[in-house]
Amino acid sequence: MIKIHDLDVDVGEFHLRDINIEIKKGEYFVILGPTGSGKTVLVECMAGIHNPCKGEIWFNDGNVTLLTPEERETGYVPQDYVLFPHLNALENIQFGLKIKNHSKKEIEKRVGEVTNRLNIKNILYRQNPKTLSGGEKQRVALARALIIKPRLLILDEPLSALDPRTHEELQRELKRIHKEIKTTTIHVTHDFEEAISLGDRIAVMNNGKIIQIGTPDEIFRKPKTESVAKFVGAENLFKGKVIYSDNGKGISRIRIHGMDTNIFSLTEKVGAVYVSIHPEDIVLSEAVCKCYNDKNILKGKIVNIMDKGSLVRIIVDVSIPLTVLLTRRAYLETELKKGSEIYVIFKAMNVHVF
């Protein structure tokens, strides 16, 4: 459906380099990256707002690189919504159809459909779109983009800057709408949760480059580079060196940089590596339990307990600081305290090496 080939874009001092993306028809494609990584520049380039200085963009076997925005038929929902302040909500929504001189009846029909779907019938006549709340603005902008039945829907951080409740609601809605209308969608975000729960595939950007593309699981479980790992929140991330590699069994031992802590993993890599263990993959135990040789068991001391709402984050010092996540409920049942001695246990298969 969409093919981006070797794209380079310059805006002011900022450069996008070597962008290659293929998006399938009907796919929900997420672009994930930290602030200032160029996500907005990239999607605006697809929408035709920025011009690339190299490379090509294809929509459905048509080269659109030189087309103007109005010829591309993308539905773009900008990060800052950009509702037209001189029009009320309804007029904003009708805008694209009126421009194309659709009949009154057709306009009415489509407005009915889209406002039903987005549940915004009650705010259509609010005169000044600035008085709409964030969530309402977002829905109007989305309706304005959906009503023109775009070939490609681009959502630029549609959920950031919303309070968590509205955030969650809208996220659910986006999923539902995509299921219903099946438009190819690009969704820009810097929130992992959003990316995982919405994306069919995810592209991770940093510094104007795409550093990894894959399914959510690939990205979060197997980050290709340290920067992806760091960004996607691999919390227990350490430098290390493979000191013993038993290729036959696939088990290797890694010594953490500057420590004499050893960690077992299933990697076949050798030399200097990075190691990461997801906090929810670590079990806390008061005693050493029956153990197989592919398990890591380390003794440590609790140095910090952080209450994070429904989750509790516990830092255990096992010569290296390990972060462990528990549900609040589990935590309340354990009577863990700062200073308690404890074992941390995690499987070698859960040790991610790269």
């Binding site: 103007t68 925005p69 950009v82 037209f84 001189h86 805008f95």
Partner: protein
């Protein structure tokens, strides 16, 4: 602690800035009042309702309005190009735009007269519209004097709006023309209106270029400023002042009315 701190300092500050404004306003009002004291109300009324002055009022209002409409019509695309388009030599063009502001109107009028005696100029006069010493000349003179100011003011309005709304409008299917007419112009209307008001004010008071290009012929090319000049030319100071007051009253009430109407209905 220093006296400028705290609520007391805040009051001093407010007093200081407000008094600069009020000093300036009082100075202007003082000038107007000293003129009012100069003439008798009988004389004023009789001048106001004389045929000559009624003609001048009409001519002034009509020509200034047409000049502003033309300035706005040419100024909108020009200001848009200057604000949103990148091209080579933009800073040179920017500086050339100062020409009509720098050259005093009388000189500008003289330049226009000379221009119309060149082959190109006389070609325009013979085969197009006649400008020299006729009413279109008034409009042209006012246009030349005010248009650069109008473009500058509208440029800053477009600068403030930026290109973001247009970009989004285009993803919704607008071409550049539609984006301009459906989005940028409606958004700019307050700024354009303010520019138009200031330009109109300047046009209605325009004298130097008008008198040189269109001449000071009573009942033909006699706008209010030219009526003032003609009164002074016959050393009739009292009549001159009466006409100045008429000019002030007419334009200030028009401006106040425009602002009020605009302020209520037009705001974004």
């Amino acid at each position: 602690m220093n006296v400028f701190n705290g609520i007391f300092g805040e009051r001093i500050f407010k007093a200081a800035t407000l008094s600069a404004l009020i000093f300036f306003i009082l100075f202007l009002v003082g000038i107007v009042v000293s003129m009012i004291c100069y003439i008798s109300s009988d004389r004023f009324i009789s001048i106001l309702f004389s045929k000559e002055i009624i003609f001048a009022i009409k001519l002034s209002l009509i020509t200034a309005t047409i000049a502003v409409l033309i300035s706005v019509a040419i100024g909108i695309p020009a200001a848009y190009a200057l604000s949103q388009t990148e091209f080579w030599g933009k800073d040179i063009i920017d500086t050339i735009l100062d020409l009509p502001i720098v050259i005093s109107p009388i000189a500008l009028g003289a330049a226009l007269l000379i221009f119309f005696s060149t082959p190109i100029g006389s070609g325009i006069e013979e085969h197009g519209i006649k400008f020299v010493f006729v009413i279109p000349g008034i409009i042209l003179a006012q246009f030349v004097v005010v248009s650069a100011l109008c473009i500058r003011l509208m440029k800053s309005t477009f600068d403030a709006i930026g290109s973001r709304y247009e970009d989004v409008a285009r993803t919704l299917g607008c071409n550049k023309f539609q984006a301009l007419f459906k989005v940028t112009l409606p958004l700019a209307k307050n700024g354009l209106l303010a520019a138009g008001i200031l330009t109109w004010a300047r046009a209605i008071g325009e004298f130097g270029a008008t008198v040189t290009l269109a001449g000071a012929t009573a009942m033909k090319t006699e706008t209010l400023p030219i009526a003032i000049f003609l009164s002074l030319a016959s050393a009739d100071v009292e009549k001159a002042i009466a006409v100045i007051l008429i000019l002030i009253i007419i334009s200030i009430t028009s401006l106040f009315a425009i602002r009020k109407i605009a302020g209520s209905g037009w705001s974004i």
